[in-house]
Subunit: 242 residues, 2 copies
């Protein structure tokens, strides 16, 4: 049973404005719901369809019809489950200078952000700073694309100029004309800035890079997807640490 | 001016069945349309909105309203242009044994396929073989995600068991328990098999691998996106060739 008011409330969480006001967000599909249930995050509501009732009713889920699930879910097809979770308290995270930190400048696509979160989690890099105009971490598409990694990695949103002004670590960024990434094989704890696909790294941030790197292209493609570029940097850093 | 029949025809090309029957496909948005116009592929129809009429009318485009563009386009927002292009004649491609060939086993998501095409084009690898049950190269989402690279790289669809049976090159594949990718730094011309996210590499293909590799994880994420994994392999191969 789900009330009209609940449906309305859950649908409102598709918008950042209401997510921020309520400090709640949507988690959809089995993989992500299983991860949120297994995490320290608080799950406030849980809905499932008959298809997976055996698995989720014992976890306190409310069974709803597939038509109702389609109504509240943002996924094209969601035949299983949806949770409403509570955002962690703000200010519980901080940047540590003794490891690598990834910085995203104006990554607009929530799917790309989610894939980056998943990939950094894979490689064990858990420090992620986003410019204030990046996509929202709690956007349903970010959460979905993170494949559960949203429970282990939460970006901090900062004014990048101010953030970088306070940093003493080397600041690497991908830029045309930089040194080939694969030619650098020693990195002390550093910052790696990834720019948006359409605009690259903004000028004021570019001015704060201490080193420019590039991923060498060997064909005619104009650019790499930003999640792909981030993954290649993370893989390279890991293989240099071995 | 666009007729009702034309609208109907263009909409039919969203489906593989009609694309294959007509041997035509959709190309949407400025980047992809510019690439198809600059390529050897034949552009049969070209539509643009008033917004970009100055650029495309001289190339023979027909101007239509934004509402009409929204009607024929598969993109969420397309305020610019759409082309109908002719598929290249079948059988114009073949696998060459003197370079690396990438093989995709059951990659279902056309967006992932498009990103893989874009990434392989970036790294200059132009040999791509897909299992017959992979996503369609001419799916509008594949074409869009390829960011123009569909003009330079067209996968060949094969029965992978038969294809691999006829190969004498080493066959690498990503598999749990393989050797760490970064530890192998010499590759003769080889085949690299990437399995689907949900099912990995099918057993009959797994049995044909001569070497198993893995991308080492250092966190708790369960898997990497297949386009990300392909990109990391391509980057590593390139950096080993330097």
């Amino acid at each position: 049973m789900i009330s009209k008011n609940e449906i309305k409330f859950i649908k409102s969480l598709k918008l950042k404005k209401y997510r921020n006001r309520e400090r709640q967000f949507l988690v959809e599909g089995e993989k992500n719901v299983d991860e949120v249930l297994a995490s320290k995050l608080q799950t406030l509501k849980l809905f499932c369809t008959g298809k997976v009732a055996g698995k989720y009713l014992v976890r306190g889920a409310v069974e709803i019809s597939e038509a109702q699930m389609a109504q509240i879910s943002t996924l094209k097809t969601n035949e299983t489950c949806l949770a409403v979770a509570s955002m962690p308290a703000p200010g519980t995270q901080h940047v540590s200078g003794d490891t690598h930190t990834f910085v995203l400048d104006r990554i607009a696509d929530p799917g790309n952000l989610g894939t980056i979160i998943r990939t950094l989690d894979w490689f064990g890099y858990h420090q992620l700073v986003c410019s204030e105009d990046c996509a929202d971490f709690f956007h349903p598409k970010t959460i979905s694309a993170s494949m559960g990694s949203f429970t282990r990695l939460q970006p901090m949103y900062h004014d990048l100029d101010k953030f970088l002004a306070g940093e003493s670590r080397p600041v690497y960024g991908l830029a045309l004309g930089g040194e080939p990434l694969e030619s650098v094989r020693r990195f002390e704890p550093s910052i790696f800035v990834m720019g948006s696909e359409s605009h690259g790294i903004r000028d004021s941030v570019l001015a704060r890079l201490t080193h420019q790197l590039r991923i060498s292209g060997h064909g005619q493609a104009e650019s790499l997807n930003v999640a792909i570029a981030t993954a290649i940097v993370a893989f390279h850093l890991r293989s240099c640490q071995l």
